[in-house]
């Protein structure tokens, strides 16, 4: 339960985060400007993952499939069929919706470890499919979307997604939209039911809630958000490759979310940002950067079991959503 004071604080905080991100567009040096644009898109991926893992308590190991459904759903028609940016983005979302609905209907018959395994198997099938149709996807090597195809005509103006500032602001826009959508969902009736399912599914059922339908809705919302991230990645960075469908990209969002704080709205951004820079910096010094990541995760489990923001919420700011 939250009074009106809390609501104001929550929206002020989230608004401030977006304002800072917009301001950074004008001050960041070129390299970090590019990195942050990428991090923001990946943070959207993490937020989609967090909705299911953090709020509903469903641990999926197959979310690379949703991200790459968006990636290919947008990238393939743009590359092969000459679709424009906007229909291609819609195509990515449509692909994510279809895939997540299908996966949800099947995988939600299981729970716990079985759910992890089923989602991972489906994602593996999806990954192998992208390799199998190498003629169109060029597998690991991937497709590079030409600069001139990544423009949106707005009357007499054109929005060039390859322009760094445009690209960055589009990433911020997608991030902001997802952030406020997540915030609205977790504060809604549906959101409270999702948390109830996480806490005690059987009890939730006995309060008259259709837990399957609620979980299915969450899988699809999560899948669509991740697909939006994938589609945006293809369109903003111009690369579509099957690495993004591999198991590594199913595990990464889990790590980002654990690091930043599961079931917090801003945790995914924090986790993604932190991990991206840690890998970026350490890989400059040593090829064993995964060792550093591993050590970091051990520290996390020992001292920040609930992730950075989860711990902050527990100790200091109880009102954080």
């Amino acid at each position: 339960m939250s009074g009106d004071g809390t609501t104001t604080k929550v929206y002020a905080l989230h608004g401030a985060v977006i304002a800072v991100l917009v301001a950074l567009n004008f001050v960041l040096p070129e390299y970090h400007h590019g990195v942050l644009a990428r991090v923001l898109v990946l943070a959207v991926f993490a937020m989609g993952y967090n909705l299911l893992f953090g709020y509903v308590g469903l641990l999926s190991l197959g979310h690379a499939m949703f991200f790459s459904a968006g990636l290919y759903g947008a990238g393939l028609p743009l590359y092969h069929l000459g679709w424009g940016v906007v229909p291609a983005f819609a195509g990515g979302i449509g692909a994510g919706f279809t895939v997540s609905l299908f996966i949800g209907l099947l995988a939600l018959r299981t729970s716990g470890v079985a759910f992890m395994i089923v989602t991972m198997m489906f994602a593996q099938v999806f990954y192998l499919t992208t390799l199998y149709f190498g003629e169109w996807t060029r597998g690991d090597e991937g497709l590079v979307l030409q600069q001139h195809t990544r423009r949106i005509a707005l009357g007499s103006e054109t929005l060039d997604l390859t322009n760094p500032a445009t690209r960055y602001l589009m990433a911020v826009a997608l991030f902001a939209a997802t952030l406020f959508a997540t915030l609205a969902i977790v504060r809604s009736r549906h959101g409270r039911v999702l948390v109830a399912i996480r806490e005690n599914e059987e009890r939730t059922k006995m309060l008259g809630y259709d837990t399957f339908a609620n979980k299915l809705a969450a899988v699809v919302t999560s899948g669509v958000i991740c697909a939006a991230a994938g589609a945006a990645y293809a369109l903003l960075f111009g690369y579509v490759g099957s690495t993004f469908a591999s198991v590594q990209y199913s595990i990464l969002p889990l790590l980002w979310v654990l690091l930043g704080g599961a079931a917090t709205t801003l945790g995914p951004l924090l986790g993604t940002l932190f991990m991206y820079y840690v890998v970026d910096i350490t890989s400059g010094y040593t090829s064993a950067y995964m060792l550093v990541v591993g050590a970091m995760l051990i520290l996390l489990v020992l001292w920040f079991r609930k992730g950075v923001l989860g711990t902050v919420r527990e100790r200091w700011l109880r009102w954080l959503p």
């Binding site: 009736r189 009890r203 309060l207």
Partner: protein, 245 residues
């Protein structure tokens, strides 16, 4: 008067164990019915079949004239069957208020209005005497208070049939007194099916008593009839000190 709930030949087997064995049962609207019986008699299993937590091995269940045997649990709850768990099953990490707000937001036609939810939730907490603890974490409440919270969650569903599975376990004597008054009040607009080991509570509240033993109904009748029944005494009452007290 037509029955609110009837079961015909209802059975549930766990492997070779007949936890509920061919039970024909009927409940009138508005009554307070106690279900008693020794540990492992099948009482919890029986009501779990009624509320849809378990699927029956055979038999039929009819609620308010409608066959609900194959209906999923959440739809039965929407028809008006509420179950409070024997093994306390509150949302331990949520506040007492949030525990009750969950059933409230579903039952209210305007469950989106924060004010309406708040009012009904606080009302349910008040009825069980937990209003002052609304903001405490449910898992941190005393065991007896968690039992009462269970009851409040059931009440918040505004049920037509409220099934209480050993609700007085862990309550103090004074809390039991209040609880008896509460059940009487609930019974003014709902039917109550009460599984209870505390014979004082049973004798004070029940109009009729059903005795389970080894998955079957051993006897059924008024409190006086049950007290006088020798088979019941052998199976159960003899072993309970408070019997007839």
């Amino acid at each position: 008067m037509t029955a609110l709930l009837t079961t015909k030949g209802l059975s549930r087997h766990f492997g070779g164990l007949r936890a509920v064995d061919n039970v024909d049962f009927s409940l009138e609207p508005g009554e307070i019915r106690a279900v008693i019986g020794p540990n492992g008699a099948g009482k919890t299993t029986f009501v779990s079949l009624v509320c849809g937590r378990y699927a029956p091995s055979s038999g039929r269940i009819v609620f308010d004239g409608e066959d609900i045997t194959d209906m999923p649990a959440h739809l039965r709850v929407r028809r008006g069957i509420a179950y409070t768990f024997q093994i306390t099953s509150v949302f331990a990490n949520l506040s007492a208020y949030e525990n009750v707000a969950l059933p409230v937001q579903r039952t209210l036609t305007d469950g989106r209005s924060r004010r309406a939810v708040r009012q009904s939730a606080m009302e349910a907490l008040e009825r069980v005497g937990l209003a002052s603890r609304a903001h405490e974490q449910a898992g941190a409440l005393a065991y007896g208070h968690q039992r009462l919270l269970e009851v409040a969650m059931g009440l918040a569903l505004k049920p037509r049939l409220l099934i209480l599975d050993e609700p007085t376990q862990g309550l103090s004597d004074s809390e039991i007194e209040n609880f008896i008054a509460l059940v009487r009040e609930i019974a003014s607009d709902a039917t109550v099916l009460l599984i209870e080991h505390n014979m004082q509570v049973v004798m004070e509240l029940a109009r009729r008593i059903t005795v389970f033993d080894a998955g079957k109904i051993l006897a059924e009748g008024s409190p006086a009839e049950i007290r006088a029944n020798t088979a019941v005494q052998e199976a159960y009452l003899g072993t309970v000190q408070e019997a007839g007290a």
